[in-house]
């Protein structure tokens, strides 16, 4: 029950994030992509890993956030980055809330298909409104105001973006961490583990799920907004199945319901994809596919699940202490 206490190794991801900034100034564009994906996977973890809401449509909220930031910037209505992200969270959260009310009475494959179709509808709507959203070609060269009015977002090195994204991820992570160890988070875990028992102990299950889904959607919106800001670009693909499926794979690969699965999954998936693709631009998918298959076959619940199993085995071998 004392799992909420911080442990020493929890500082490691953040140290690594800062070291990365100094050690690999040429990789910060990739680094931004990585941080955005971690945040997106983290938002999904809250819904899928903790509350057991199986969704293949989380890019709906990611895209809503990205378009909020993108359209406000493109028409020069609002370009300040921090408040921009708050607006993204607000819009995405509102969509999450409304769709949650309708969808969260279903489960399993039905829920999966419904989330997927809602996302596809949004994508189609964005395509139909291409005059405003830029459609497939997107909204180019978004103007993003300097951070705190001082630090410009650099197109070539993405250094300001990287630190900003790291800070945003840190804040969001703290929020999620507090949430999952709170009584609310505990009851979400209960819903995931056995929903009918939660009904039987008098838990307002649907209300909890809607609240959770809304928060998760808002965080996904922040991730999407962050993508629009760090790349100064947004197009239809932010609402696509590609992105929704990738984040799901990233989370399962790392291990869902574990807080750090989003980190591990994103780093391994994206790094493998990025560097394999540099060496074998035409054949990298083979390596990626093989890794996914192997992890699925030999690990239960992703890489962190595998690590946990191995650790237990090691402890057992040492004998009970």
């Amino acid at each position: 029950m004392r799992r909420h206490r911080l442990r020493w190794w929890e500082a490691l991801p953040w140290i690594a994030g800062i070291v990365f900034y100094f050690a690999f100034p040429d990789y910060l564009g990739f680094g931004c992509e990585l941080l955005v994906t971690i945040l997106f996977a983290l938002s999904l973890d809250l819904a899928l890993g903790y509350a057991g809401i199986i969704t293949l449509g989380h890019a709906a909220f990611f895209g809503a956030g990205a378009y909020t930031v993108g359209m406000l910037a493109s028409y020069n209505i609002w370009t300040e980055p921090i408040t921009g992200l708050l607006l993204a969270a607000l819009v995405a959260g509102a969509i999450g809330f409304l769709s949650g009310i309708v969808l969260l009475r279903t489960r399993g494959l039905t829920l999966l298909m419904l989330t997927l179709c809602i996302m596809a509808l949004l994508e189609q709507a964005a395509n139909m409104g291409a005059a405003y959203t830029g459609g497939f070609d997107g909204l180019p060269s978004l103007p993003i105001a300097p951070l705190f009015g001082v630090f410009d977002f650099s197109a070539l090195y993405a250094d300001t973006q990287y630190l900003f994204a790291l800070a945003v991820l840190f804040v969001c992570f703290l929020f999620v961490r507090i949430l999952v160890y709170s009584p609310f988070g505990q009851s979400l875990t209960g819903i995931r583990e056995n929903v009918s028992r939660m009904h039987a102990i008098g838990s307002p299950v649907r209300r909890r799920l809607i609240v959770c889904y809304t928060i998760s959607a808002a965080l996904a919106g922040v991730a999407g907004g962050l993508l629009a800001q760090t790349t100064a670009y947004v197009n239809l693909a932010v609402l696509g199945l590609d992105r929704a499926a990738t984040v799901l794979i990233v989370l399962i690969l790392g291990g869902y319901g574990r807080l750090y699965g989003a980190f591990i999954g994103a780093v391994i998936y994206l790094a493998l994809e990025h560097f394999l693709a540099q060496v074998y631009p035409t054949a990298w998918q083979l390596g990626l596919g093989l890794m996914l298959v192997v992890i699925a076959l030999f690990a239960r619940n992703g890489i962190l699940g595998l690590a946990e199993t191995l650790w237990r085995r090691y402890e057992n071998r040492r004998g009970p202490s």
Binding site: M113, C117, M128, L290, L297
Partner: protein, 291 residues
Amino acid sequence: MNFATDIAGIVLGGLAAGTVLFIVSVGLSVTMGLMGFVNLAHGAFAMFGGYVVVLAMNRAHFGFGVALAVSFIATAALSVVLERALYWPLYRSGELDQVLFTIGLIFIFIAGTTILVGPEHQTLQLPAALSGQLNLGFVRYRTYSVFLIVIGVLIALGIWLTFERTRIGGQIRATVDNRRMAESLGINVDRLFTITFAFGSGMAAIGGGLGAEFLGLDPQYPLKYLVYFLIAVSVGGLGSVIGVYYAALILGVLDFVLTLYLPKGGTIFIYVLTILILLARPQGLFGRKEL
């Protein structure tokens, strides 16, 4: 054009489109319903089958029918190997591990096809008898569409009879309804899985070959059409063959008529229809149990 021929055109066009969807998806419905296995890689078997058909016709100069038969056998054989070697250990895993595995498999199929055959799309040259138009008496229509509809009816009927009238069909139905009960009745569920999986993959292969005229065929196939297969299965109801058949036909015809009269709506209709149907009937049109 008068009203009657309009209607005939719509119905035939929609039924043909629905039939393609049915043939590719039916195997997925049965395997997901029977084994509870989320096999997102189902389209990969359809693609594999389609490639076998095209390569058999273009390189080995087989006839269309022979190529389809070869493709069914080759794909079923491949699927048995994969099922016994890779799928089987994951039957007891969570559905998310299955998602991870099958997406990985899709990547392997995509990359493998690209490396072995090439990234370009393959064209299938239909036999002369199936191209062009056919006079149905009341209307002239695309020969191949009519052919597909007839084949679809035969396949649906065949599978339905197998399910209702044969021993193995009864075993499958019993297992879909209650796996534990079926096991305690002495049904060899493992063997049943393998047979069903092979059959479902074989059907996907036939669908890949028959549908190539409409859906095309390239390494992206398993991802491109995944959503449509899932829609057909979920709207029809897991494990229900007849459900998938009707769902595919209903979606095919409705989508056809809506795109015909409201083309500005783009692909929006299929999603709207799916949402409405699933909200009204979460278990699908013909499903008996929750998805």
